[in-house]
Amino acid sequence: MPEYVAPLRDMQFVIKELGGLDIVGRLPGCEEVTPDLVDAVLEEAGRFATGVLSPLNQPGDRAGARLEDGVVITPAGFKDAYRQFREAGWPALNGDPQFGGQGLPHLLSGMVSEIWNGANMSFCLCPMLTTGAVNAILRHGSDGQKNIYLEKLISGEWTGTMNLTEPQAGSDLSAVRARAIPEGDHYRIHGTKIFITYGEHDFVENIVHLVLARTPDAPDGVKGISLFVVPKFLVNPDGSLGARNDVRCVSIEHKLGIHASPTCVMAYGDNEGAIGYLVGEENRGLEYMFTMMNFARLEVGIEGIAVAERAYQRARDYAQERVQGREAGVRGGERVTIIHHPDMRRMLMTMKAQVEAMRALGAAACIALDVAHRHAEREERARQQALFDLLTPVVKGWCTELSIQIASMGVQVHGGMGFVEETGAAQHLRDARITSIYEGTTGIQANDLIGRKVAAEKGMTAKAVIAQITAFDRELAGASDPALIVIRRALSEGVAALNEATDWLLQTYPYNIKAASAGAVPYLELWGTVAGGWQMARAALLAKQRIEAGSTDLHFYQGKLATARFYAEHVLPRAYACKQAIVHGSASVLALDAAQF
């Protein structure tokens, strides 16, 4: 059996049956996105992932990336895998057709992204950041910049990076100090950037860095940061590569996980100054960077889903194989595989149910993004953009926090063998651990959620989603199936908790932002739990209808119904606990003086 097999059936269910393709397939530019194309793309991506990317995952973790004389050497096989990845045209999946992309919607590319990350997360970070760079240049770059960079970035011939963080400027980007000094048609960039994923590597001949820096007379704080494009090799007017730019990787980090992905310290302008070109206007860099950031946050949420799926697959396979103990309640029975033990079932169901809920919720965010980009009517675009904006911190924060829990549970299923690196379960936990940190920690996501996404618009979008979930209750109302009855009750209790917490937040935020912030992360978790439960309830209702309509795929639909019920019974009740902590628990969070810790 191969180590990682893309969960195609569930992906197809989410895209084709849960309603996504009905919406996205009708959007302008998506005419070709038919069910058979979806199948063909997912299947071939799955083959590539299983055959090429997944076998490199564990060796890549062991070997790690190395820095030798300023050159980063990726683990054996990675460079060749990237060449195959590029030659197969995968980097161009959702790229703009004007610059050689295939223009496929996020609903599909998000699933493909899960497949890549499930197979080998360290590898995927490189194309993911390249897509982020493409988005920033596409939206804010000049025509000249687009012509120079976009085609080569979309094809994967060059790769891109995001350079925000400096030693003193992590979550707080107002502290950015890198300088940009004007010189003719360009700037000279000086400064140090840290945590630059794939800032240097051996996959391709040129790397295009997008860098935040300050011009000499820029105002303090976030309003004085500009965005620059700084290629590793300067590009001649004919597109050929010119001189080596004054940017170097001076070290790479030793990390808890994603060992194969080089995390670089980049030195700009140690000598004459790195040549950089301004993107858009001066002092608007942070705003532009958020174009990359929002996409990257969605992608990191998907990384969480992917690693959780992989951890689940590994745990499931192990539990099916490992023989230990006898079945509970059976006297003198034979030794059985551990999947026969109820607590193993509980763990596997916890993993499976949450992975499926996260996948469906991630798809819902992708659908909103596709409609926001492509719909013919401006009002609908704006409405869906607001929904995407609301869901982005939820998908990012909730899916990554859960992925850590799920990967940890994967270790637990293996027992002592999970703590041993050899089985591979530990790698998923170590790899998952970064996802709730980079592109904005869970705390940052939660602050974004309560502030910019909920309080700032007085809960308009949040309340609209709550109303939608409440309205869905009517569809469940007639159900006589015991699973659906349980699901309906749990969802209505969950959405009531979400509504109450939202009301409290809207009242509290304007006059006591500290109290509101103390409950921000529980509020994010509450959103994920309930919105995921909503998707599972929709899936359950659909599964029930398919069974009643005589579908022969009972294996899948009965499984879906039972999994949704498990989610309702074991996961959704957490909504109440979150709500209690948010509404009643802020004072104790802040009760101690700093000195009392």
């Binding site: 070709e32 071939e44 045209g89 022969t552 294996h555």
Partner: protein
């Protein structure tokens, strides 16, 4: 020159095959299906011949239900130029497959028919041979190397004793073995292009072929479960067991 590549839709090689409860066959409903791996090798070989400038057109053919179109789309994505589906819901046994392919070969006049030596579902290993007999064309089965030059195919075959090289006159039938090539991963642009390539659908009756089975499947059952081994004390014990229990010496 034109090449015909017959491809079969089979249960995916990663799927653990289960026998139907009533013993009439194996479970194929809601099971992942894909192209027979030997046929994939045949497709790949045809595409390589085209890339080498020897072949000008590749026509993929499949016989089976409407869903076999997916298998043909895969062939088109690998690099076939157009495809023909001979649609039937019936069980089509190797002789009927060969007759259908004969009719298509007569209509298309390819110089080469290249197909898998067998399909991984029934492992018949008959279609290529029967097709050669029906057409009266030379055949080279179990190919691990194919060279086309001056109206001949030089084919290295994997036989029990090692390798055998034959030179056969075209038009001819070649069936592929595992080591002939390693099929490429399909590229995204080719998946997109495959959607737009021509795919014709016909039926066995339209080709004048009666597909009624000649063989009857009586029962399908799982192979006996492997029993656990035993440790023998010494050589004498082993010999005694081989003599008295296994009765092989």
């Amino acid at each position: 020159m034109k090449v015909l590549v017959p491809v079969k839709r089979v249960v995916d090689y990663n799927v653990k095959v289960r026998v139907k409860a009533d013993g009439t066959g194996v479970e194929t409903a809601n099971v992942k299906m894909s192209m027979n791996p030997f046929d994939e090798i045949a497709c790949e070989e045809a595409v390589r011949l085209k890339e080498a400038g020897i072949v000008t057109e590749i026509v993929a053919v499949s016989i089976g239900p409407a869903q076999a179109q997916e298998t043909l789309r895969t062939a088109l994505a690998i690099g076939a130029d157009r495809a023909i589906l001979v649609e039937t819901a019936a069980e089509v046994q190797p002789l009927a497959v060969a007759k259908i392919l004969q009719a298509i070969a007569q209509a298309e006049s390819p110089q080469l028919v290249i197909l898998g030596k067998q399909a991984i579902d029934d492992d018949s290993n008959q279609t290529g041979q029967m097709l050669a007999a029906l057409l009266g064309w030379p055949q080279a089965t179990f190919a691990s190397k194919v060279k086309i030059a001056e109206g001949n195919a030089e084919v290295t075959r994997e036989v029990d004793g090692g390798l055998e090289t034959l030179s056969i006159r075209l038009p001819a039938i070649v069936t592929t073995d595992l080591r002939l090539n390693e099929p490429r991963y399909v590229t995204l642009p080719n998946i997109m292009k495959a959607k737009k390539k021509q795919l014709d659908v016909t039926r066995p009756e339209a080709l004048g072929v009666d597909v009624a089975p000649r063989l009857k499947t009586l029962k399908v059952e799982e192979p006996a479960k492997r029993k656990g081994g035993v440790m023998v004390k010494d050589v004498a014990d082993l010999v005694a067991k081989l003599k008295n229990e296994a009765k092989v010496i």
